[in-house]
Each structure stands twice: as C-alpha cells, then as structure tokens.
C-alpha cells in the first residue's frame, strides 16, 4: 500500500471548493453561564464524531455546521443569532467571534438549532434513545420489550418527525444561501428523515448520510412497525450516499432495502435503485485525530496519572477497559470472563489488575440504571471471590477523564473491548496508538474496529464467557516479540487510516459525484488497510 500523498487532505479532495453543510445532533461547542461571574462560557464538544467533524469543518473554506442547541445557554445563543450562522473559533478555547473580529486560527460558521423541549424530549428520549439505539444494537429482550403503544407513535410523529423537519428546514436554508449547490453531510440515527426532506426541496443537492452505529439485518428492523421502519429507510434513500463503518452494516442496509421495501439492490456494486435515482451505499471506517490525542496524552496530568499507575502496579500487569456504561458494551460478561480466568489460572493472582474506567450513561433510562447495578455486582463478585488484603483484582472507577484514560492506554498490557455490538469503537484505535508496553488488543468480533484490527488482536466472542477467559489468558501469556509486532502493525493501520483520511476519501467520492463523471467512486475495496481480500 503506497503512503498517502501529501495532496490527500480534505481541502485537496474538495478541490472544486464545493460548499459543505454539516448536520449532527451534538456540535463542536456548548455554552453555559459561569455560576459566579454570570458570564457565558463555552466548552469544546467531546466524542469521536465531533472531533472528526471539527477537523473537517476547520479544513474547508466554506462549511457551516448545524447542530442542536442542547442546554438553556445554547438556546440563548440560537435565539441571539436568529438562525444565522455565527463564526466559531476553536483554539485554544472555543468562542464565538463577533462581526469584524478577524482572529486567526481554526474557525468555521456554526448554526445552533433550537428544538422546543416538547419536541426534543420525545425525539431524543423516546425514539432516538432508547428505541433506535436499542433496535440497532439489538438490546431488546424481545419477549418483553419493546411494547410499542400510543406513546411511541406520538413520540415519532410529534417528536422525531418534527425534529427532523426543523433540522431539514435549517439545512435547506443553508443550501439556499449557497451560490453553488453544496454538499450536505448528515450524521447518525437522530436524523434519518432529513435526507429525503432536503432532496424534496433541493433536488440538485449532493446529500450523504453517515450512520455511525451498527445497522442490523432486516429481522431486527421488523421490531418497528412497518410504517415507521419504511419511513426511516425512505428518508435515508433521499440521499446520494448512505455510508457506514463496515461492509456488514452496508450489506444489512441493502438487505433491508431489498426485503422491507422491495427495491432493486445490487449487492456487488452496492447500489439501490429508488424512484429513478441510484443511491450508493459506501463504507468509510471512521478513525481518530492522532495529533489531538497525543496532545492530551502528553500533558502533565496524563504523566502524573502514569506515575501513579506505575507506583500502584509495580511489575503487575494491567488489563484495561474504557467505556460508557451502555448495555451494548458487555461489561458484565467481561467481569465474568475475568472471574473465570482467575478461577482457572491462579498463576495470575496478585499479578494482574483489571482497571475499568467507566462513564455512567443515561441513568434516567431503567435499562441503563439496572445495567450499572449489574456492573457493580459483577465487579464486587470478582473481588469477593479472589481478592486479598494486598490485592483487589478489579479496580472499578466511574470517571470521564481523558488524562487518566490516556495514561492507562500508555500503561496497559491488555485492552478489552468485548461489546455485543459497536459501530466502530475508537477506544481500540486510541489505545494501540498511544500504548507504550506492546499491549495486546482483545477485541470483540462484533465491533467495526475488528474489520481493520482483528487480525492483530485476540478476538473475543461477546456471548461466550469461557472463550473470553481463554482469550484473556492468551493475551497475558503472549510472547513479547509477537505482542510487539501485532501492536505495531495495528498502530500502523490506524496511522494510515486516520480521521483525515476518513474525511478525505468521503469528500473525494462526493467531488467525483459532483463532477461530469461519477465513475471514479471509491467502493471501499481500495481501502482495506489490513491487506485482506475484500
């Protein structure tokens, strides 16, 4: 595989300088008021998607990012700017620029979208989460839930549909303001209906929708009422490109178009025909912003955490996981596997610690609160079974602390990702890049990351606790030379397909589609960085 050419940048890919309109639920900044001074504060948005898109927006000459005003102060900003974009300066701390403020640095226009509370609540709290999240990660106990009724229908019609219409209106306004038809980049499961709404108003727009969470096969979608699932699918089919992280997701989407909508679908060329148009289904595995990550990992805070970890662990081995407490992350089975490992291999007693850095998530949803309790119970159980006065095998910490996480990435010997379903999982990519001890990646076959990194990892089967225990033992006993080769190869893959390349390839495809000849599309085959046959 040749190295990337220096012209492979988002800007070069969009050499025609087509304007871009971005839409996502969360944005690159959120506003608040300082409790003491009463002054407006701005905080950089977190998460892999926001980091990736921030890089994109800052690299383009003409891009506006539409996102939902999350809190009261966001709404205040949205009202002050009256639906017009304001210029956001990203560094060193984010802030909105006043008219005439010609500060240099990474910056781009943002448009905060106000969605009334009575719309946002059912849109976000009933349909997007949990309904779509649960369906797409297959988290329902189908014998009991979902039990769909009037509430969900109303939430769909008066929440999800209305929120999508509001978002589409904002996008359409931005498209209308543009001298040349822009590229519209829609993101994630909150806005499946927007593509078709924009298409109706802007037939010439180039529209792409990126789905960042797993796309399950038609069986799983049949859990939703036919009307609802068909409208979601048809919303996406308003786009020119529907994009996913993995071939399996892309294939499942096409099977849905075939089976649920009866549309002609070509699984080889990855196209769906609908209403005289051709929709392309594409695969672009998302990645990380390595310089930004390294900057966090080489702060004093991270270094101090590393010293602490070294002091605590001594020569002991560190098994690490870093996750939200989402049931899809499979944290309980992970502890069960570790319990079995310790029961079967007393040689590890006293020599290993499983550090779980967990961020509590969605505790207003019963399934999540129950899951948090189950995590605590499983961790306690391991410590009760095997712990001594000198050694507690599980170190469970609830925190969202990137300085600590990056220190742990650097120090760990095994990184565990055993999710039952995960669109990509960027933790795996972050850890292999930062790690300084030739850690072994223990990676679930049900993550998007497994497509790229699986051959350099110990594969975990998410439902098989005994297999996970064996895999952990294999990871802990792998010869140093093999560990090194695998970790280095995995890191190389992440370096080659970093987030800049993720963006560049997408924009190149869109630029090709915008040109007179749409034939030079990347079909994903030339981006199999693992070198495996596609």
């Amino acid at each position: 595989m040749p190295p990337l050419r220096s012209t492979d940048s988002p800007r070069a890919a969009m050499s025609t300088q087509i304007p871009v309109v971005l839409l996502s639920h969360r944005g690159p900044v959120s506003f608040d008021r300082d409790a003491t001074s009463g002054e407006r504060t701005a905080t950089r948005g977190a998460g892999g998607l926001v980091t990736a898109l921030s890089g994109l927006a800052a690299h383009l000459d003409e891009a506006v990012w539409v996102f939902v005003a999350a809190g009261e102060e966001d709404v205040a900003v949205a009202r002050e700017t009256e639906g017009a974009p304001a210029r956001l300066l990203l560094d060193p701390e984010p802030r909105l620029l006043e008219d005439g403020d010609d500060q240099e640095g990474r910056q781009f226009p943002v448009r905060l979208l106000e969605i009334p509370h009575e719309v946002h609540e059912p849109f976000y709290g009933v349909i997007s989460n949990p309904l779509l999240w649960f369906v797409q990660h297959r988290l329902y106990d189908l014998t009991r839930s979902p039990s769909l009724g009037r509430e969900e229908r109303t939430a769909f019609e008066e929440g999800y549909v209305v929120a999508n219409e509001l978002a589409a209106d904002a996008v359409i306004e931005q498209v209308a303001k543009s001298a040349t038809p822009p590229v519209v980049l829609l993101h994630d499961y909150h806005f499946y209906l927007v593509g078709d709404l924009v298409r109706q108003s802007c037939p010439d727009a180039l529209i792409s929708h990126f789905v960042h969470i797993p796309w399950p096969e038609p069986d799983s979608w049949r859990v939703l009422p036919p009307d609802m699932r068909n409208r979601l699918l048809n919303g996406l089919l308003g786009c020119d490109i529907v994009a996913f992280h993995t071939r399996a997701d892309a294939r499942a989407f096409q099977l849905c178009c075939q089976e649920l909508l009866g549309l002609p679908t070509d699984l080889r060329s990855m196209t769906v025909s609908v209403a005289g148009r051709t929709v392309r289904v594409r695969v672009y595995p998302i990645s990380i912003d390595i310089p930004a990550l390294e900057a966090i990992a080489h702060t004093d805070a991270s270094d101090e955490h590393l010293v602490d970890l070294d002091h605590t662990l001594g020569t002991g081995r560190l098994i690490l996981r870093v996750d939200r407490t989402d049931p899809s992350k499979n944290i309980v089975r992970g502890f069960q596997a570790y319990d079995l490992l310790l029961a079967e291999h007393p040689e590890h007693h006293g020599n290993v610690v499983f550090l779980a850095l967990l961020q509590p998530s969605r505790q207003d949803v019963k399934e999540y609160a129950d899951y948090l309790a189950a995590i605590g119970a499983a961790a306690s159980s391991v410590n009760a079974h095997h712990g001594t006065g000198d050694w507690q095998p599980v170190d469970l910490r609830y925190a969202s602390d990137m300085a600590l996480a990056t220190a742990a990435y650097r120090r760990c010997d095994v990184l565990v990702v055993n999710a039952v379903a995960d669109g990509m999982n960027l933790v795996a990519k972050e850890a292999v890049v930062l790690n300084e001890r030739d850690m072994v990646l223990a990676l679930s076959e049900a993550t998007g990351a497994h497509d790229e990194l699986g051959q350099f990892a110990v594969t975990l089967h998410p439902f098989d606790v005994a297999q996970q225990a064996e895999a952990l033992h294999e990871a802990l006993t792998m010869p140093p030379q093999l560990r090194r080769e695998r970790r280095e190869h995995a890191a190389l893959i992440v370096h080659r397909n970093d987030v800049k390349r993720w963006l560049t390839v997408q924009l190149r495809d869109l630029a090709a589609l915008a040109g007179p000849d749409g034939s030079s599309w990347t079909d994903g085959a030339d981006r199999d960085h693992t070198g495996r046959p596609a």
Copy 2:
C-alpha cells in the same frame, strides 16, 4: 389453480418405490406401564409434525421411522427390539405387532433409539432447548443471556454431537439394510449434524432435512460461537435438500451460508454450492390432516364443550387463543392489547370474552416459569381493570384438551395468533377449517402461516400493542359478509394445501432428484396457494 389430481398422493409421488428412512425426536407412539395392571400401554404421539409424518409413513410401502425413546418404557422397548425396527399398528389405538401378526390397517416399522440420560439431558435440555430454540426464535435478552461457558461447550460436545452421532448410526444402519439407496428425511433442530454424518457413510443417499422452526438471519446465529454455528450449518449442508416453511426462512439460511461460511449461494435458484455438491433450499409450508381434525371436532366431548360455551357466552363474542406458554407466543402483549381495546372501546364491555387455552410448557426452564407468571399477572390485570360481577373479560384456562380446543375453534369470533416468531402455527389453519361462525383470523406477520393466510386475516404486529388493539377492534366490527368471504377463502387455501399435499410435493421433488433428470424440481413458486406474486 387446478384441483389436485387423484394421483397426487404420497404413494404416487414415490412411484419408483424408493424406501424411506424418517428421523425425528418425538415419534408416533410412546410407551408406559399401567399403574394398576402393570401392563404396557401405548399412547399416540401428539403434535402437528408427528401427525403429518404418521400419515406419510402409513402411506408408503417401505418406510421406517427412527425416533428417540423418551421414557423408561420406551427404553425398555428399544432394548427388547435391540435396534431393529418393530411394526407399529396405528389404529384404533397404537400397538406394536408381534412377528406373524398380520393385522390389517395403517402400520409401519418404527425404531426406538436409546440415547443415554447423561447424553440426552445436555443434548435436549441445554442445547436444543433452550439454546437453539431461543436463538432461532430470537428470545434472548442479549445484554444478559446467553452467557456461554464450559457447560454449554461440554453439552454440545458430549450431548448434542453424541446424540446426533447415535441418531446418524441408526439411520445409517437402516440405509445399509436397504437394497436400493433410500430417501432419508431428517426433521428439526435436534438433528442438524445428522445430514453430514449420513452423507459421509452413504454418499449416494438422498437426504433431506426439514427445519420446522424459524431460521433467523446471520446476526442471530452470531450469538453462537463460530465453531458451533459453522458445524450446525455444515451438518445441514450434508443434505441434498434443506427445507423450510417460508421463503424468508429459506432466504435467511442462504444468507447464513454466504456470510458465515462464505459459500457460493444463488438466491434465485435457491442453491448453495459446497464441496462440489449442490444443496437445494426449498419451501414447503406444512399443513394439517383435515379428516383427522374433523374426527376430533365431531366427537360428543367436543359437542358438549360447544354447548357449554354457547350457554356461557350467549350472544357474546368470543376471542380465542390456543398456545403453549412459550415466550415466543407473545401472550402477555396479547392481553395488554386487549386491555387497551377495552379501555378505548367501552362498547365491547360485557359483550366479549377472551378465552386463552394455554398449555404450560418447559416449567423447569426459568424463562418459561417467569413467563407463566407474567401471563397470569397480565390476565389478572385486565380483569381487575374492566371486570364486573357479571363479566370477567379474560377466561384463562391451563389445559391441553383437543375436544375443548376444537369446540372453541368452532365457536370463536376472533382467533388471535400474535407470536413474535413462529415457524408455521397450525392453530391458525385448524381454526379456519373448523370454525362455524365466520371468525376473523388475527394473525402475526411473524408466523409462517401469514405467508399463506395473511391476506385473509387482520395482520398483527407482534411488538406494537396499540396496533394489536386496533386490529382486534377491526376484527370485532368487520361486516359479516367480509368475514364470511375471508374465512371461506382461508379455509379453501388450507384444504388445497393440506398435509397430504405437503408430503406429496416433497416426495415428488425427491423422486425427481433420484431419477435420471433432476430438472423437474418444484421450486416453491408453483405452490403459492394464495395466488400472490412470488
């Protein structure tokens, strides 16, 4: 569609008189000892599959049926006959014929297979039920279960695999005894490995495997460890035909061969290529034995139940369901929908009774015991919400009583089948044939029966309680003329595709394959009895 010709019988289909070896877990007879006299007793096997196969075996000149010895007395018979077939006389009550007993009537050889308890328990109680049953009906709460460990692996290796080897040995012995290569008909999820085992010993045998429960898409099979799921698939691919009740099941099986095994699969011709052989995937929707059913429905016992029902109901309407208490049957959501119906439509109060005839099932499995409790709670809840001194809206009876069931079939106004997944559901077919009041069939889209009868039914969406409530209201208020037309058309479809035709078409296909020219195979398209485009 032309009427069936009189030559369309199992015997005519097998005009070449190829011998047949049948294998199923349950058989046409089970033995016991009378508590008082100590004499051996024989009871006819129950269930749709056993009834169907009994008809087949009795119609063929040369057929032997291998099945598992279930209880102590079955084992005693197995040992007495020392693995050799004994002749079973079916009517009026089943009994084994002694040598030289030339009693006339329906009869065929049976071979009871002893599977040692320590093999049968893990084979049946861990792998077949619940593991395969749960995976194939998608009953797992994947955030928690299954949590596969050593027990399941051992149960697979020392239970499922060994039981399949024992069954294969018995089948192979029967094949070896045959002068001409016989047709081997394997049945259901207990014996997925047998096809390949028989193929290895008998390369020339014609082998078919019929899967009677839903076949889910690859996502669901990924719940099983790769080694286990691949062995199950490869076992089936030892056959010449793998048969299902619906096109959706057949398609999902082919998708599994494509995605999980990477085998060349032609979804149009419904074939899978494996090891130089072509495996045909076929669709034969099972049906009922109408004369046998009518015989039960016109006994004094059934008539007495009908008088009782008429007396109790008066002019009231009867909603009926007849099910095992399996979580796949979706009984709880059915009561929730009825509750919503009564809340929104007080005009039905006092005028309708929901009779649920439920057969307790697998109460040694925790999920089943929990589900039985949830059923009771849901039924009580409806009666507490809406019941009066004169009227209890739910009549919940735990019974397995065909006389009562057939009386209820005759009397009901609405039959409810709202399963979350069901291979076929013969209750729907039985009811439309026997009903005397132009009942409305309210039928889940997730049943095999919906393919044939859906257009004459009110379709139920199994996860949407509000939709089920609306559908029940529609059923209760449908104009009499429309009810009549639909019920009659549905009954006509069942009469045309009765169990004899189900068997005949399969045997015709197998006979064609046995002949010099395998090209005249039925591909399922000419058997779409609803007249809908395939």
